[in-house]
C-alpha cells in the first residue's frame, strides 16, 4: 500500500509545471474573475451529477447498451473544452459524456440519446458510446480505441486548408497509444504541422489491463518526442493546470508550430463500464483497492478544486452545495425529458444510411 501511494505521489509531484514561456497565459488565468473559476467548478459538478444519474439508470435497466462514465476525470474534459473556442472541433471516444457536456451540449438531448429516443443528439442511432453534435463542434465518438486520431488529423487538415483558424482536440486514453493509428496520426500531424491537440488521458488502465503491463514507460508523452511533436505531462486532476496547458498549446499551435500532445495523468474512479459484468472486475483485484481509495479520497478533481476556491475565499461550502442542488435539478429535468420523449419510428431504421 505504502509503495503504491508513494508511487502515485511521486507521479503527481513530478507533473510538469506550466510552460514558463507561456507565463502570461497563466497569469491571465489567475486574474480570472471568481465567477469564471466557479463556472469551471460548476461544469465539473454538472458532469458528475449527469454520470451518477446515468449510472443509476444503467443499473436499474432503464438504459441499454454500453455506458462508460468519466467520474474522476472531469477536470480534463472541463479544462480542455473551456480553453477551446465554441467553433473549435473535438473528437471523442467511447467515454463520451464529459467532453460533450463541457463543450456545451444540451443535456436534454444527450440524455435522450442515451435512452435511445428520437429527440437524442443522434436520433437514437448512436447511444451513449457515440453521442455527437456538430452544432458544438463535436465530430465522431468512436468505440474503436485510437480510431479518432486520424479523424482529428482530417478535421485539422481541413482547417489548415481553409485557413479557418479552428483547432481540433482529440481525446484518447493510454490504451490508444499502442494502436497503429496513434503513431501514424502523430507522424502525419507532425509532417503537415496540423493544428491539432492530442489529449491523452492517462488513467493507467485499459479496461482491466494496467499500463505497466503494456508499456515499458509510464510517461507516454515521450512517445510524441520521436515524432517531433511538442509534448508534456500535466496533473489531470487539476482543472486550472489543464486549462492553462491547453491555452498554451493553442497559442503554440496558432504561432504555426503544429501539433501538441498533452498527457493528463488521471484516474478512472469507476470500472470501465457500468453494469454487473464490470462490477465483478472490482473483486478480481486487477488493481489495488487502496490505490483506488487514495485517488477518490485525495485526488477527486471536484473536491480538490472546491477546497482551493474555498481557501481563496472565492466560494463557500454552502454555495457549492447549492451548485450541486441546481445541477442535479437540471439533470432530473433532462431525465424527465428523455423519459417522455418518443422512441424513433420503425422507418427511421432505414433513414440516413446515405446522405440523400
Amino acid at each position: 500500500m505504502d509503495k503504491n501511494i508513494s508511487r502515485i505521489k511521486s507521479v503527481i509531484k513530478d507533473t510538469l509545471k506550466i510552460n514558463p514561456e507561456k507565463a502570461d497565459e497563466t497569469k491571465k488565468f489567475i486574474d480570472m474573475e471568481n465567477f469564471e473559476k466557479i463556472s469551471l467548478l460548476r461544469k465539473m459538478i454538472k458532469i458528475r451529477c449527469f454520470e451518477e444519474k446515468v449510472t443509476e439508470y444503467k443499473l436499474n435497466g432503464k438504459i441499454l447498451g454500453p455506458v462508460h462514465t468519466c467520474v474522476g476525470q472531469e477536470a480534463i474534459d472541463v479544462g480542455v473544452c473551456s480553453a477551446l473556442s465554441d467553433h473549435d472541433y473535438i473528437v471523442g471516444n467511447h467515454r463520451s459524456h464529459g467532453y460533450m457536456i463541457a463543450k456545451g451540449a444540451k443535456i436534454n438531448l444527450l440524455m435522450a440519446e442515451i435512452f435511445g429516443k428520437s429527440t437524442g443528439t443522434n436520433g437514437g442511432k448512436g447511444g451513449s458510446m457515440h453521442v455527437s453534435d456538430i452544432s458544438i463542434g463535436s465530430l465522431t465518438a468512436s468505440g474503436i480505441v485510437g480510431s479518432g486520431l486520424p479523424i482529428a488529423c482530417g478535421a485539422a487538415f481541413a482547417s489548415q486548408y481553409k485557413n479557418d483558424g479552428k483547432i481540433t482536440c482529440v481525446f484518447f486514453g493510454d490504451g490508444a497509444v499502442n494502436e497503429g493509428t496513434f503513431h501514424e496520426s502523430l507522424n502525419l500531424a507532425s509532417i503537415w504541422k496540423l493544428p491539432v491537440i492530442f489529449l491523452l488521458e492517462n488513467n493507467g488502465v485499459a479496461v482491466t489491463t494496467l499500463l505497466d503491463q503494456v508499456s515499458a514507460s509510464q510517461d507516454l508523452y515521450h512517445r510524441a518526442e520521436s515524432y517531433g511533436i511538442y509534448s508534456k505531462k500535466l496533473d489531470g486532476q487539476d482543472v486550472e493546470e489543464v486549462y492553462n496547458s491547453v491555452k498554451s498549446a493553442i497559442s503554440y499551435i496558432k504561432e504555426g508550430n503544429g501539433a501538441v500532445l498533452l498527457e493528463a495523468k488521471t484516474f478512472r474512479f469507476r470500472e470501465h463500464q457500468e453494469g454487473p459484468a464490470y462490477a465483478r472486475m472490482t473483486e478480481t483485484g486487477y488493481r489495488d483497492k487502496n490505490e483506488v481509495n487514495y485517488w477518490i479520497e485525495n485526488k477527486d478533481p471536484i473536491k480538490c478544486f472546491s477546497n482551493k476556491l474555498i481557501e481563496e475565499n472565492a466560494i463557500t461550502t454552502m454555495e457549492i452545495e447549492r451548485i450541486f442542488k441546481e445541477e442535479n435539478k437540471k439533470i432530473e429535468d433532462a431525465l424527465e425529458y428523455a423519459k417522455n420523449s418518443p422512441f424513433p419510428l420503425d422507418k427511421d431504421a432505414y433513414r440516413n444510411i446515405f446522405n440523400q
Partner: protein, 323 residues
C-alpha cells in the same frame, strides 16, 4: 476524345480538381505518377492539393474522412485493392457508419480509389477483387467501371457524391481505348444494357464485361442472342434493370471477377431466386474465381479465374437445361 481507361481516370481527376477547390487527392507515389493516372497533377495543382502520403493507409483514410466531415472533398488513392485491408477499420467502422450513427449530421464526400490487379502474375495478395466484402457493409457506395467512358463518368460521379464511394478500377482494362464524352453523366446506381437479346441474360461485373462482349460473335454464330448487362454500380445495385431482362429471357449467367463464395454474382443470384423464381426457365449460372488464393503461376491462375471460355460454356449449359 479518345482515351484509354487509365487516361480517362486521369482526366476525371483533373476535371474535378479544376472545377472544385475543395477537392484534394491523397495517395502514395502520386506525385511522380507511378500508377499512370496522376500525370502532371502535382505540377498543375501543387503539393497542397496533390498530397504524397506516408505509408499509413489507416491514418490517411481517417484523415480523408475527417477532412470530408469538415468541408473538403478528399480522394484517397490506395492503389491496389489489398491495401484497403490496411485501412479496414477506418473504412468499415468510420466511413460506412458516420452518416447513420450520427443521423445525417455530416456530409461525407469521400472517394477511395483502388485497382484490381488480377490476371497479372501478382500472386495471392495483390490480385484480390474484394468488392463483395464491402457490399456487406451498409453505408458505402461501390462502383466498378468496365470501359473508359464509365471510368471517366463514374469517377466524376463518385467525387461529386456526398457519401463514401469506393471506386474499383480494373487494371486488366487500363489500356482499352474508346471515345469518351466529357459531358456524359452516369449516375451511380445505373446498370448498363450493352446488347439486347431474347435467349439469355449475361450479367457482368468489372473485367468480365469485356469477356462477355468478346463472346458475342461466337454466340451469334451459334444463333444465341444474349442480353449483356454491366452492373457498373454494386451499391446501389440496379436490380430492376437485371430483373427486367431476366423476366424476358428466363435464363441468366452472372460473371464476376470476385471469388465465388459470397460474391456480387451470388448476391444477384440470391435476389433473382427470391424475387423472380417463377420467371426462371433454368438454374442461375455463375462464373467467378474459384475459392482459392490467387496462385502466382500464370497457368494456375488461368485455371481458377473467370474466362471468356468459361462464360461460353456456362451459357451453353444453361440454354441446354429444360424441365
Amino acid at each position: 476524345m479518345e482515351l484509354t481507361y487509365g487516361e480517362a481516370i486521369r482526366e476525371a481527376l483533373y476535371k474535378e480538381l479544376e472545377n472544385n477547390q475543395s477537392v484534394v487527392l491523397f495517395g502514395e507515389d502520386i506525385r511522380h505518377n507511378l500508377y499512370g493516372y496522376t500525370d502532371n497533377l502535382f505540377n498543375r495543382f501543387g503539393g497542397k492539393r496533390i498530397i504524397n502520403t506516408p505509408l499509413s493507409e489507416a491514418a490517411v483514410v481517417g484523415t480523408a474522412i475527417g477532412a470530408a466531415m469538415c468541408g473538403l472533398t478528399p480522394i484517397v488513392d490506395l492503389t491496389v485493392t489489398n491495401f484497403l485491408y490496411v485501412a479496414m477499420d477506418q473504412i468499415v467502422n468510420m466511413a460506412a457508419k458516420i452518416n447513420y450513427m450520427y443521423n445525417g449530421q455530416f456530409k461525407l464526400p469521400l472517394t477511395i480509389m483502388v485497382s484490381a490487379l488480377y490476371n497479372s502474375s501478382s500472386a495471392a495478395q495483390h490480385s484480390d477483387r474484394p468488392h463483395p466484402a464491402f457490399m456487406n457493409t451498409p453505408g458505402l457506395k461501390l462502383v466498378a467501371p468496365s470501359c473508359p467512358q464509365d471510368a471517366y463518368s463514374l469517377l466524376r460521379s463518385a467525387i461529386a457524391d456526398e457519401n463514401p464511394v469506393i471506386y474499383f478500377s480494373d487494371r486488366s482494362l487500363f489500356y482499352t481505348k474508346e471515345n469518351v464524352d466529357e459531358n456524359s453523366n452516369i449516375k451511380i446506381g445505373q446498370a448498363s444494357l450493352l446488347t439486347e437479346g431474347k435467349d439469355i441474360t449475361i450479367v457482368t461485373i468489372s473485367g468480365c464485361t469485356q469477356m462477355a462482349l468478346d463472346l458475342l460473335p461466337e454466340l451469334n454464330n451459334n444463333n444465341i442472342y444474349a442480353e449483356i448487362i454491366d452492373v457498373r454500380s454494386l451499391v446501389p445495385l440496379d436490380i430492376n434493370t437485371i430483373k427486367k431482362s431476366v423476366s424476358k429471357t428466363g435464363r441468366v449467367v452472372i460473371a464476376d471477377t470476385a471469388n465465388k463464395s459470397c460474391s456480387a454474382a451470388s448476391e444477384i443470384s440470391s435476389i433473382l431466386a427470391e424475387d423472380l423464381f417463377s420467371a426462371l426457365k433454368a438454374p442461375i449460372g455463375i462464373v467467378a474465381y474459384d475459392n482459392v488464393p490467387v496462385p502466382f503461376a500464370k497457368k494456375l491462375e488461368t485455371k481458377i479465374m473467370p474466362t471468356k471460355e468459361k462464360i461460353f460454356q456456362k451459357v451453353i449449359n444453361i440454354l441446354k437445361y429444360h424441365n
